[in-house]
């Protein structure tokens, strides 16, 4: 038999004790070292390959309910049951070597066949592993991606034409896409109605991209992390904070120090602006030196030098 059954693995530990002297011990140790090196190299290779072969193309959209990409690569067993149960042949399994998504994982290309937003959600029901989250039962809550009007230079609506095809095919129209009336600066007299996508309602189904009548779609669905920006955590929009605080920009006790306005004059944001409480009495004319206004009420604090 040409087959020699050398064992350097865990079983080698058992065999080592039978060895006589240094030669077999050296062989054993070289064997272990060799195995360790190969395993380490293999591990590095596997990791590098798996990482690089797991990028998802920007036009490849995961099925509804798919966990985020990391979670998906940990959970999808690449069985294609979701593909089989999709009544519209929307979903496909990525093939080995195809630079679209990790080999064997399901995706769809909206421009080819978009998701029809089934109810019940057949693909999610078919998934045996939870890679498509079974907690998703209302397809309107799906966030497969996000539609973006990527090219205002070719979108017909932006040119002032009444296209609006994307708006009309949208299964959540009115919420996911709205039409916004704008003054058409080209004609100067007419209005244009441009599509605006709202991330709080767009499911990423891709019907808009599929239907866009231009040769290359002017509206495209992208994975949310590509389509969506993110404010820094420290960022606050004043008007939103104001709403949250019940309409007050600042805490009420601070209110009177809000502005150093002349007596009898108030200022209201988003309201009337400057309000002069008693129009009968003319407002005190502004002092010649504006610093005096700022220092109003502070007289005497610094020893009365002002």
């Amino acid at each position: 038999m040409s087959e020699t059954d050398r064992t350097y693995g865990p079983a080698a530990l058992a065999g080592a004790s039978e060895g006589t002297g240094g030669v077999s011990r050296r062989r054993f140790l070289t064997g272990i070292a060799g195995t360790a090196c190969s395993v380490a190299l293999l591990g590095m290779g596997l990791t590098l390959y798996s990482r690089s072969a797991s990028t998802t193309a920007p036009n490849a959209i995961r099925p509804p309910g798919a966990l985020d990409e990391d979670g998906f690569l940990a959970s999808c067993v690449r069985c294609g049951l979701c593909v089989r149960d999709c009544p519209y042949d929307t979903l496909k399994l990525a093939q080995l070597g195809e630079a679209v998504a990790a080999s064997g994982t399901p995706y769809f290309i909206a421009r080819e066949i978009p998701c029809e937003m089934c109810d019940p959600i057949y693909c999610v029901l078919a998934c045996p592993t939870g890679a498509l989250d079974p907690a998703l039962t209302d397809i309107d809550e799906a966030r497969m991606g996000l539609a973006v009007v990527v090219d205002q230079e070719t979108c017909l609506a932006f040119q002032g034409m009444r296209c609006e095809v994307c708006f009309h095919v949208c299964p959540v129209k009115g919420d996911a896409i709205t039409l916004e009336q704008r003054h058409d600066r080209r004609t100067g007299v007419t209005s244009s109605f441009v599509p605006v996508v709202h991330s709080d309602a767009c499911t990423g189904c891709g019907k808009c991209e599929h239907a866009c009548i231009t040769e290359e779609a002017a509206i495209k669905v992208m994975p949310t992390h590509l389509a969506k920006g993110h404010l820094g955590e420290h960022y606050r929009f004043g008007w939103i904070e104001q709403q949250r605080a019940g309409g007050e920009m600042l805490a009420p006790y601070d209110k009177e120090h809000e502005f150093h306005l002349p007596e009898g004059v108030r200022y209201e944001w988003f309201g009337e602006g400057l309000i002069i409480d008693d129009p009968g009495v003319p407002a005190e004319p502004p002092p010649a030196d504006p610093i005096d206004t700022l220092n109003e009420g502070l007289e005497g604090l610094d020893g009365g030098t002002r």
Partner: protein, 308 residues
Amino acid sequence: MAGHDKTKPFHPGASAVEQFGWLRAHRFLLLRRLCQAGVIGLFLLGPLAGIWIVKGNIASSLTLEFLPLTDPYILLQSIFARHWPEATGFIGAAIVLVFYLLVGGRAYCSWVCPINPVTDAAAWLRRRLRVTSKTSLHRNFRYWILGLTLVLGTATGMMMWEPVNPVTTVFRGLVFGMATATWLVLLAIFLFDTFLARRGWCGHLCPVGAFYSLPGLVSPVRVSAVQRDRCDNCMDCYAVCPEPQVISPALKPKGSNDKGPMIVSPNCTNCGRCIDVCSKDVFAFRIRHPGHSPSHHQQPATTTEVSS
């Protein structure tokens, strides 16, 4: 050991063909090919003929809309990658595991796996071409790879073998469409096994086979060299066996190491090819009775005849 005549072409099984006829000397081989083709055929009935008996692929499937099956190794990769699968996945994996606990873990390899016909073909060609290249790979390396895929899964949070697993990639390709790259992977395995390492892929590297060998540690269905005293040292079984190291302890035990004629190594794939090619009818499938540990070497494991 009386080897075969090195000057003549070597056809292991030729004397069994002479003795019993071609069909009987290939019965398990034929049954296995039928089984492998049948499994793929069942999956293809849906997409090709619209008859949906089985959906999905070998990684996870649904039969007749109620029987879920999931590959337990893939599910394990998922768990190691820190995902807790849904109940359907667990139930499917449990059913598969119980099945292979019964029929012999690596029966998966010889009766189901789509790579097996390719590596078998490579082994055949290698014999015909008398390729004698040796490799420094050792048969335990697959267990290192098995462990590596799981541990790396936890480190990276991804399933680590599925991106490269030729078993599932090829099966998925057969059912969902073969990519060029998948053909190339098959070709690579074929060439590797033919010219670089005897039974290199399945016998040394594949962690899927390594995983399935584990239920084989206890599975009752085993091959046994029941009539080992009739062995005439033709070496045909060693030549065809994908894991020849498993035969010796049962067929030719050394002195006090005799633990009975049953092949207890979990790496025996239950392919039955040794039964096919033995002109002395030494081997047969037997049932290993629970409770009789094969390590009691005074008492060979009790056996029951299940097949001639």
